[in-house]
Amino acid sequence: MEIILCPLVIALLKALLGNKINKWIMSVLSIATLGLVIKVYFEKVAALNSGIWQTLFDKPWFSDSIRFTLGFDGVTYLLLLLTSILTPIVISSVSDNRHKFIIPLILVMQSALNGVFMAKDGLMFYILWELALIPIYFITLLYSHKDAYITTIRFFIFTFLGSLAMLASLIYLYLKTGSTSFSYEALINVQLSLKEAILVGGGFLLAFAVKIPLVPFHIWQADTYTNAPAQGSMMLSGVMLKMALYGLIRWYMPLCGESISYFQPAIMVMAVFGVVYGAIIALKQNDMKRLIAYSSLSHVGLITAGLFSLTLSGFEGGMLQMFTHGINVVGLFFVIEIIEYHYKSRDLSQLGGLAKHHKLFTILYFVVVLGSLAAPLTNGFPGELMLLKSIFDYNSLTGIVAGLTIILCAVYMLRMFQLSMLGESEIVMNKIDTVKLMPLFIISAIVVYIGLNPQSLIDVIHPSIQHIMEDIANSKGVLS
C-alpha cells in the first residue's frame, strides 16, 4: 500500500510547495519509492520462490466483491523496480521552467502504474489502468506544442476505447465467477466456452493491442510521442507500454487461455509485421522522437511475438526485454531532451557533430544506442536473444522475419547516432552541465550491468513466470 501512497504523498508535497522545491530534490525524494519496493522484496523474498502471487494488502473497496488487493511476486517486482527506477530519472529530466505541474502528474502516474502492476482484483486493475491514462493525457496536453490537442485526444480515445472493451470482458468474467468476485483467483477459475473466450479475450486483446501498440492499432503512437514533452514520451514508452504487455501475461493469457490458440497466429503475424514495419519506417525519420517512436513499435512487436510464442524463454525474454526496453527508451528520450534543450532542435538533418562538445555525453549516448540495438554485453542482447529464439521455435519463418530487426535496428540507430553526433557541426551550442548527465550515467550503468548479468533478473522472475505458465496451461486445459 505504501508503494502506491508514497508517490502520491510526494506529489502532494510538490503541489503544495510549488516552486519552493526544485526538481533535483523531487527526484531524490522519489527514490524513496524504490527503497520501499526493494524493502518489500526482501521481506517477501523467501515466499516469492514459490512463484505464487503473494497478497500484500486486502481491503473491501467498492464492496466485498470488489476489493483493493495488492499482490507481489517476481514479475510485479521487476516492473515496480522499473517504474521506480525510471520515475526519478524522468523527473530529473524536467526542464527548469515547467516543473510545476508535470512532476506531480508524473508521480501520480507512477502511483497508478504501481497499482496496475500490483492489482490483484480485476476491477482495481481496470480502474488504475484508466487512472494512469489521466496524468499522461494532461502531461501531453499541457506541455505539447501546437496542434497537440487532436493528437492527444486521439491517443486518449483510442486507448479509452480499448480499455472499455477490457472492462466489458472483465464484467463478463465477473458475472461468470458464480461467487461474483473480481479477485484474480476467482476470475482465473472461470471456465469459458471457446466462443466466449474469443469474445472476452478479444476485449482484453483490444485494450492491450492499442496500448502496446500492435500494428493496425498504433496510429496514435508516433504523433503522441512526437508531440508530447520528453517526460510524457518517457513515461508512455518506458512504463505505460509495459502495462499492456504485463496485462497480456498476467491477465489475458491465464484468464482467457482457451482463446490463445485462436488468436495466436494473427497476433504473431501482427507483431512480427510490426517489428519490420516500425523498423522500416524508422529508417528514414529525421525527427528523433518520431524515430524512437517507430523503433519502439518495432521492439514491443518483438516482445509481443515472444510472449505469444508461449514458451518459457519467450516469457522470460519478454519480461527481461520489457525492463531493458524501458531503460533504453527512457535513456534515448533523455538524450533527445538534452539535445533539444541545448541545441533547440531534434531534427537529424540539422544536427551533427555534437560529439566533440561533450565526450561523456557521447559515450553515454552510445552505450544507450548499443543497448537499443542489442549489442552483446548490453542489456538489449539477452532479452532479444531469448525472444528471437522463442519466435524461431514457434515458426522459423517468423523467426527469420523478426530477426531482420537486428539488422534494421542497427541501421536506424546508428544513423541517428551518426547524424546527431558525428560529422562536422556549425551549430552553436550551450554547454552541457555534467551534473545533468547523472541520470543518463545511471541508465548506462544499468544497461551494462544487465548486459553482463541478466541472470540476476531472470532469477527473480523465474518462479513467478513458471507459476503463471501453469495457470495458462490450466486455463487452456479446460478446452481439451
Binding site: 486521439r154 483510442f158 493496425p216 496510429i219 496514435w220 508516433a222 514495419y277 522500416i280 519506417i281 524508422a282 529508417l283 528514414k284 525519420q285 517507430y294 514458451t311 518459457l312 524463454s313 522470460e316 525474454g317 551533427g352 557533430g353 560529439a355 566533440k356 565526450k359 548499443l370 549489442a375 552483446p376 554485453l377 542482447f381 539477452p382 536473444l385 531469448m386 528471437l388 529464439k389 524461431f392 521455435d393 522459423s396 523467426g399 527469420i400 530477426g403 531482420l404 537486428i406 539488422i407 542497427a410 541501421v411 546508428l414 544513423r415 551518426q418 553526433m421 558525428l422 560529422g423 562536422e424 548479468n453 541478466p454 541472470q455 531472470i458
Partner: protein
C-alpha cells in the same frame, strides 16, 4: 590465477584504464599500457605452449558464471583454451602487439590517441572472447564485439561523415551475417538443446542428426562467416573499411577479425565434415570471391584498397580450402596471410605516413630510395603473397591449389587464374609505388621520409615471419610426417581429409611448377607494363569490361538499387503516405463519419417546432407500430 583469465583480462584491463583515465595521462603512457597489456597476454599464451606440446589433449578451462539460463539449459560465461584457440590466440596477440607498437608512432599526433588504444585493446579482448569462448554464445559475443570495435575504429575520425558511413556499412553488413549466425545458433539449440561446443560436436558425431539439418545449420553459420570474412555478397564493406587508421586495417581487416569466419568453420569442422551441400556452397562462394575481388583489385588506385581487395580474395582462397575439408590448410593460410598482409598494410601505412596521408598510388612512385626499409619489407610481403617459392605464401597457397585440384579441376583452374591476378595486382602496386618517378606535385619529394624506428621495427619482424612462416606447415613432399600445424591440430580437428595423401608426388610437382609459372608470368607481365614501358594508371575511368572492373562490378550500386533504395523509399512511403494518408485517414475517417451523422442531426434539429412535433408523432407511430407487429 588461471592463465586464461590473465590472457583475457589484460587487454580488458588496458581498455578500462585507457578508457577511463586515457585523457588524463600522457600519450606515451597510454600507448605503453595498451601495448604492454597485449604483449603480456601474448607472453602468457606462449608460456602456456609447453603444456600443450606435451599433452595433445590438454585444455585450459575457465568457467565464470551463468550468463543466462532459459528453457532447459544454462548459458555460461566459460572459456576453453585448446590447441586451435591457442594458435589463434598467438596470432592475435602476437600480431596485435606488433601493431600496437606500430600505432604508438603512427597515431602520435592524433588527439584521440588514448581512445585509439582503448579501442584496440577492447578489440583484442573481443577477439579473444571469440576465440576462447567455449560455447556459441561466447563466440557470438566476441563476434558482435569485434564488429562493434571495427565500427568504432573505422569511424575513428568521426568528424568525417564519409568515414562514418563506411563504419556503419561495415557494422550493418556484419549484422546481416550475424543474423545468419544467430539463426544457426537457434537451430543448434533446437536440435541439440545446448550450445557448448564439445557437447554439440559429440552429438553430431553420434550421427543422429539428419544431413539436411546439418546442411542448414552449416549454411546459416557460413552466412555469419560470410559477413565477418567479407565474402560475396557481403564483401563490399571491407574495402570501405579502409577509412580507418592504417594500423586498424592491418589488425582488423587483414590479420585477425576477418579470419573469424575461417575460425568459426574450423571450430565447427565436425559439423561441416558431415554437410556436403554446405561445403559446396562454401567452395563456390569462396572461389567467386577470390576471382571477383582479384579482378577488382587490378584496377584500384588507392594503396589500401588494393590491399583490401587482396584480403577479400585471399579469404576466398581460405574458404575454398575449408569447403574442400582442408581445415589445417586454411588455418595455415590464415597464419601466413596474417604475417604478410599485416606486413603489407603496415608498409602501406608507412608509405602513407611518409607521404603525409596520400593514398593514391598514381601520385607516388620512386619511393624506393626514400624509404628503403619500407620498400624492402614491402617487397618481401609482395613476394610472399604472390607465391615466390619457399616464402610463406608459396606454401600455403600451393596447398590450397593442390587441394582444389584434388577436389575439382574447374575449381583448380579458376583458382590458378585468381592466383595469377593476385600476382599481377600486387606487382602493379609495388612497381607503381616504389619504382618510376615521383608524381606528386603537391608534396615535395624531399619531404618524403622514412618512418621512425617504432614503425619499421614491426615491419621487419613481420618480414621475417613472412619469409619463414612456411616452416610452420611444410608440405608433404618436404616433410613426410606432416607439417607442424597439421600435427598440432590433429586432436582438435578430428576428421580431416586433406588431399595430400591421395595424389602422387609427380602430380604434386607439376602443380608446384604451375604455381611457380603463375608467379613468373605475373611478374613478367607487370614488369613489362610498369617498369619497361613506364606506364602509370590513367586518371580517367576506363570503359568496357575494364570499366566494370574498375567500378567494382557496380556491387555498391546494385546493392543500393535493390536493397538500400527500396527500403528507403518504402520507409518514406510508409510514413508519408501509408501512415499519414491511409491509416491515419481511417481513424480520422471514423471521426468524419460520426461528424457526418452529427451534421445530419443538424438538419433535423432545425429549430422549427413543427418538425419536432412531426418527428415526435412519427416516433410514437413507430413505437405503436412495433407493438402492432409484435
Amino acid at each position: 590465477m588461471n592463465t586464461l583469465s590473465i590472457i583475457l583480462g589484460l587487454p580488458l584491463l588496458g581498455f578500462i584504464i585507457n578508457g577511463i583515465f586515457g585523457s588524463k595521462i600522457p600519450k606515451s603512457l597510454s600507448g605503453g599500457i595498451g601495448t604492454i597489456s597485449v604483449f603480456l597476454s601474448f607472453i602468457f599464451s606462449i608460456m602456456a605452449l609447453p603444456m600443450f606440446i606435451e599433452n595433445p589433449e590438454y585444455t585450459i578451462k575457465l568457467d565464470l558464471f551463468t550468463f543466462l539460463s532459459f528453457d532447459t539449459f544454462n548459458l555460461r560465461v566459460a572459456f576453453t583454451l585448446d590447441r586451435l584457440s591457442l594458435w589463434m590466440t598467438l596470432i592475435v596477440t602476437g600480431i596485435g602487439t606488433l601493431i600496437h607498437v606500430y600505432s604508438i608512432s603512427y597515431m602520435k599526433e592524433d588527439e584521440g590517441f588514448y581512445k585509439f588504444f582503448a579501442y584496440l585493446n577492447f578489440f583484442i579482448f573481443n577477439m579473444l572472447l571469440l576465440i576462447l569462448g567455449s560455447n556459441f554464445i561466447m563466440l557470438f559475443f566476441g563476434w558482435e564485439g569485434v564488429g562493434l570495435c571495427s565500427y568504432l575504429l573505422i569511424g575513428f575520425w568521426y568528424k568525417n561523415a564519409e568515414y562514418g558511413k563506411a563504419a556503419r556499412k561495415a557494422f550493418i553488413m556484419n549484422r546481416i551475417g550475424d543474423l545468419g549466425l544467430l539463426l544457426g545458433i537457434f537451430m543448434i539449440i533446437q536440435q541439440f538443446g545446448t550450445l557448448e561446443f564439445t557437447t554439440v560436436f559429440e552429438e553430431i558425431n553420434k550421427g543422429t542428426v539428419s544431413v539436411n539439418t546439418l546442411n542448414a545449420i552449416g549454411i546459416l553459420l557460413f552466412i555469419g562467416a560470410m559477413g565477418k570474412s567479407a565474402q560475396i555478397p557481403l564483401f563490399t564493406w571491407l574495402p570501405d573499411a579502409m577509412a580507418g587508421p592504417t594500423p586498424v586495417s592491418a589488425l582488423i581487416h587483414a590479420a585477425t577479425m576477418v579470419t573469424a569466419g575461417i575460425y568459426l568453420v574450423i571450430r565447427c569442422s565436425a559439423l561441416y565434415v558431415l554437410s556436403p551441400i554446405a561445403n559446396e556452397v562454401i567452395i563456390w562462394t569462396g572461389l567467386s570471391t577470390a576471382i571477383v575481388a582479384a579482378l577488382i583489385g587490378l584496377k584500384q588506385n588507392d594503396i589500401k584498397k588494393v590491399l583490401a581487395y587482396s584480403t577479400v580474395s585471399q579469404l576466398g582462397f581460405m574458404f575454398v580450402a575449408l569447403g574442400c575439408g582442408a581445415y589445417t590448410t586454411a588455418l595455415f593460410h590464415v597464419t601466413t596471410h596474417a604475417f604478410f598482409k599485416a606486413l603489407l598494410f603496415l608498409g602501406a601505412g608507412s608509405v602513407i605516413h611518409g607521404m603525409h596521408h596520400e593514398q593514391d598510388i598514381r601520385k607516388m612512385g620512386g619511393l624506393k630510395s626514400k624509404m628503403p626499409i619500407t620498400y624492402y619489407t614491402f617487397l618481401i610481403g609482395t613476394l610472399a603473397i604472390t607465391g615466390f617459392p619457399f616464402l610463406s605464401g608459396f606454401f600455403s597457397k600451393d596447398e590450397i591449389l593442390t587441394i582444389a585440384f584434388n577436389h575439382n579441376i574447374v575449381v583448380y583452374i579458376l583458382l590458378v587464374g585468381s592466383a595469377l591476378l593476385t600476382g599481377i595486382y600486387m606487382f602493379r602496386l609495388l612497381f607503381v609505388t616504389f619504382f618510376g618517378e615521383y608524381r606528386n606535385q603537391h608534396y615535395a619529394f624531399d619531404k618524403v621520409h622514412e618512418s621512425p624506428r617504432l614503425m619499421t621495427l614491426p615491419l621487419m619482424i613481420l618480414a621475417v615471419l613472412s619469409i619463414f612462416g612456411g616452416l610452420l606447415n611444410l608440405p608433404h613432399y618436404l616433410q613426410h610426417e606432416g607439417g607442424i600445424l597439421q600435427n598440432w591440430l590433429k586432436p582438435v580437428i578430428g576428421l580431416t581429409h586433406s588431399g595430400q595423401h591421395e595424389i602422387s608426388f609427380n602430380t604434386e610437382m607439376i602443380l608446384v611448377s604451375i604455381a611457380v609459372l603463375v608467379f613468373v608470368t605475373a611478374f613478367i607481365l607487370t614488369r613489362m607494363r610498369y617498369i619497361s614501358r613506364k606506364q602509370v594508371p590513367q586518371e580517367q575511368t576506363p570503359t568496357g569490361v575494364l570499366g566494370i572492373i574498375s567500378n567494382k562490378f557496380y556491387f555498391d550500386e546494385i546493392y543500393d538499387l535493390i536493397f538500400v533504395k527500396p527500403f528507403e523509399t518504402m520507409s518514406i512511403w510508409l510514413q508519408q503516405v501509408f501512415e499519414l494518408k491511409i491509416v491515419s485517414k481511417i481513424s480520422y475517417g471514423i471521426h468524419d463519419i460520426l461528424r457526418f451523422f452529427g451534421g445530419l442531426n443538424k438538419k433535423i434539429q432545425n429549430g422549427n417546432i413543427e418538425y419536432y412535433l412531426m418527428f415526435m408523432v412519427i416516433g410514437v407511430l413507430i413505437l405503436l407500430g412495433f407493438n402492432f407487429f409484435n
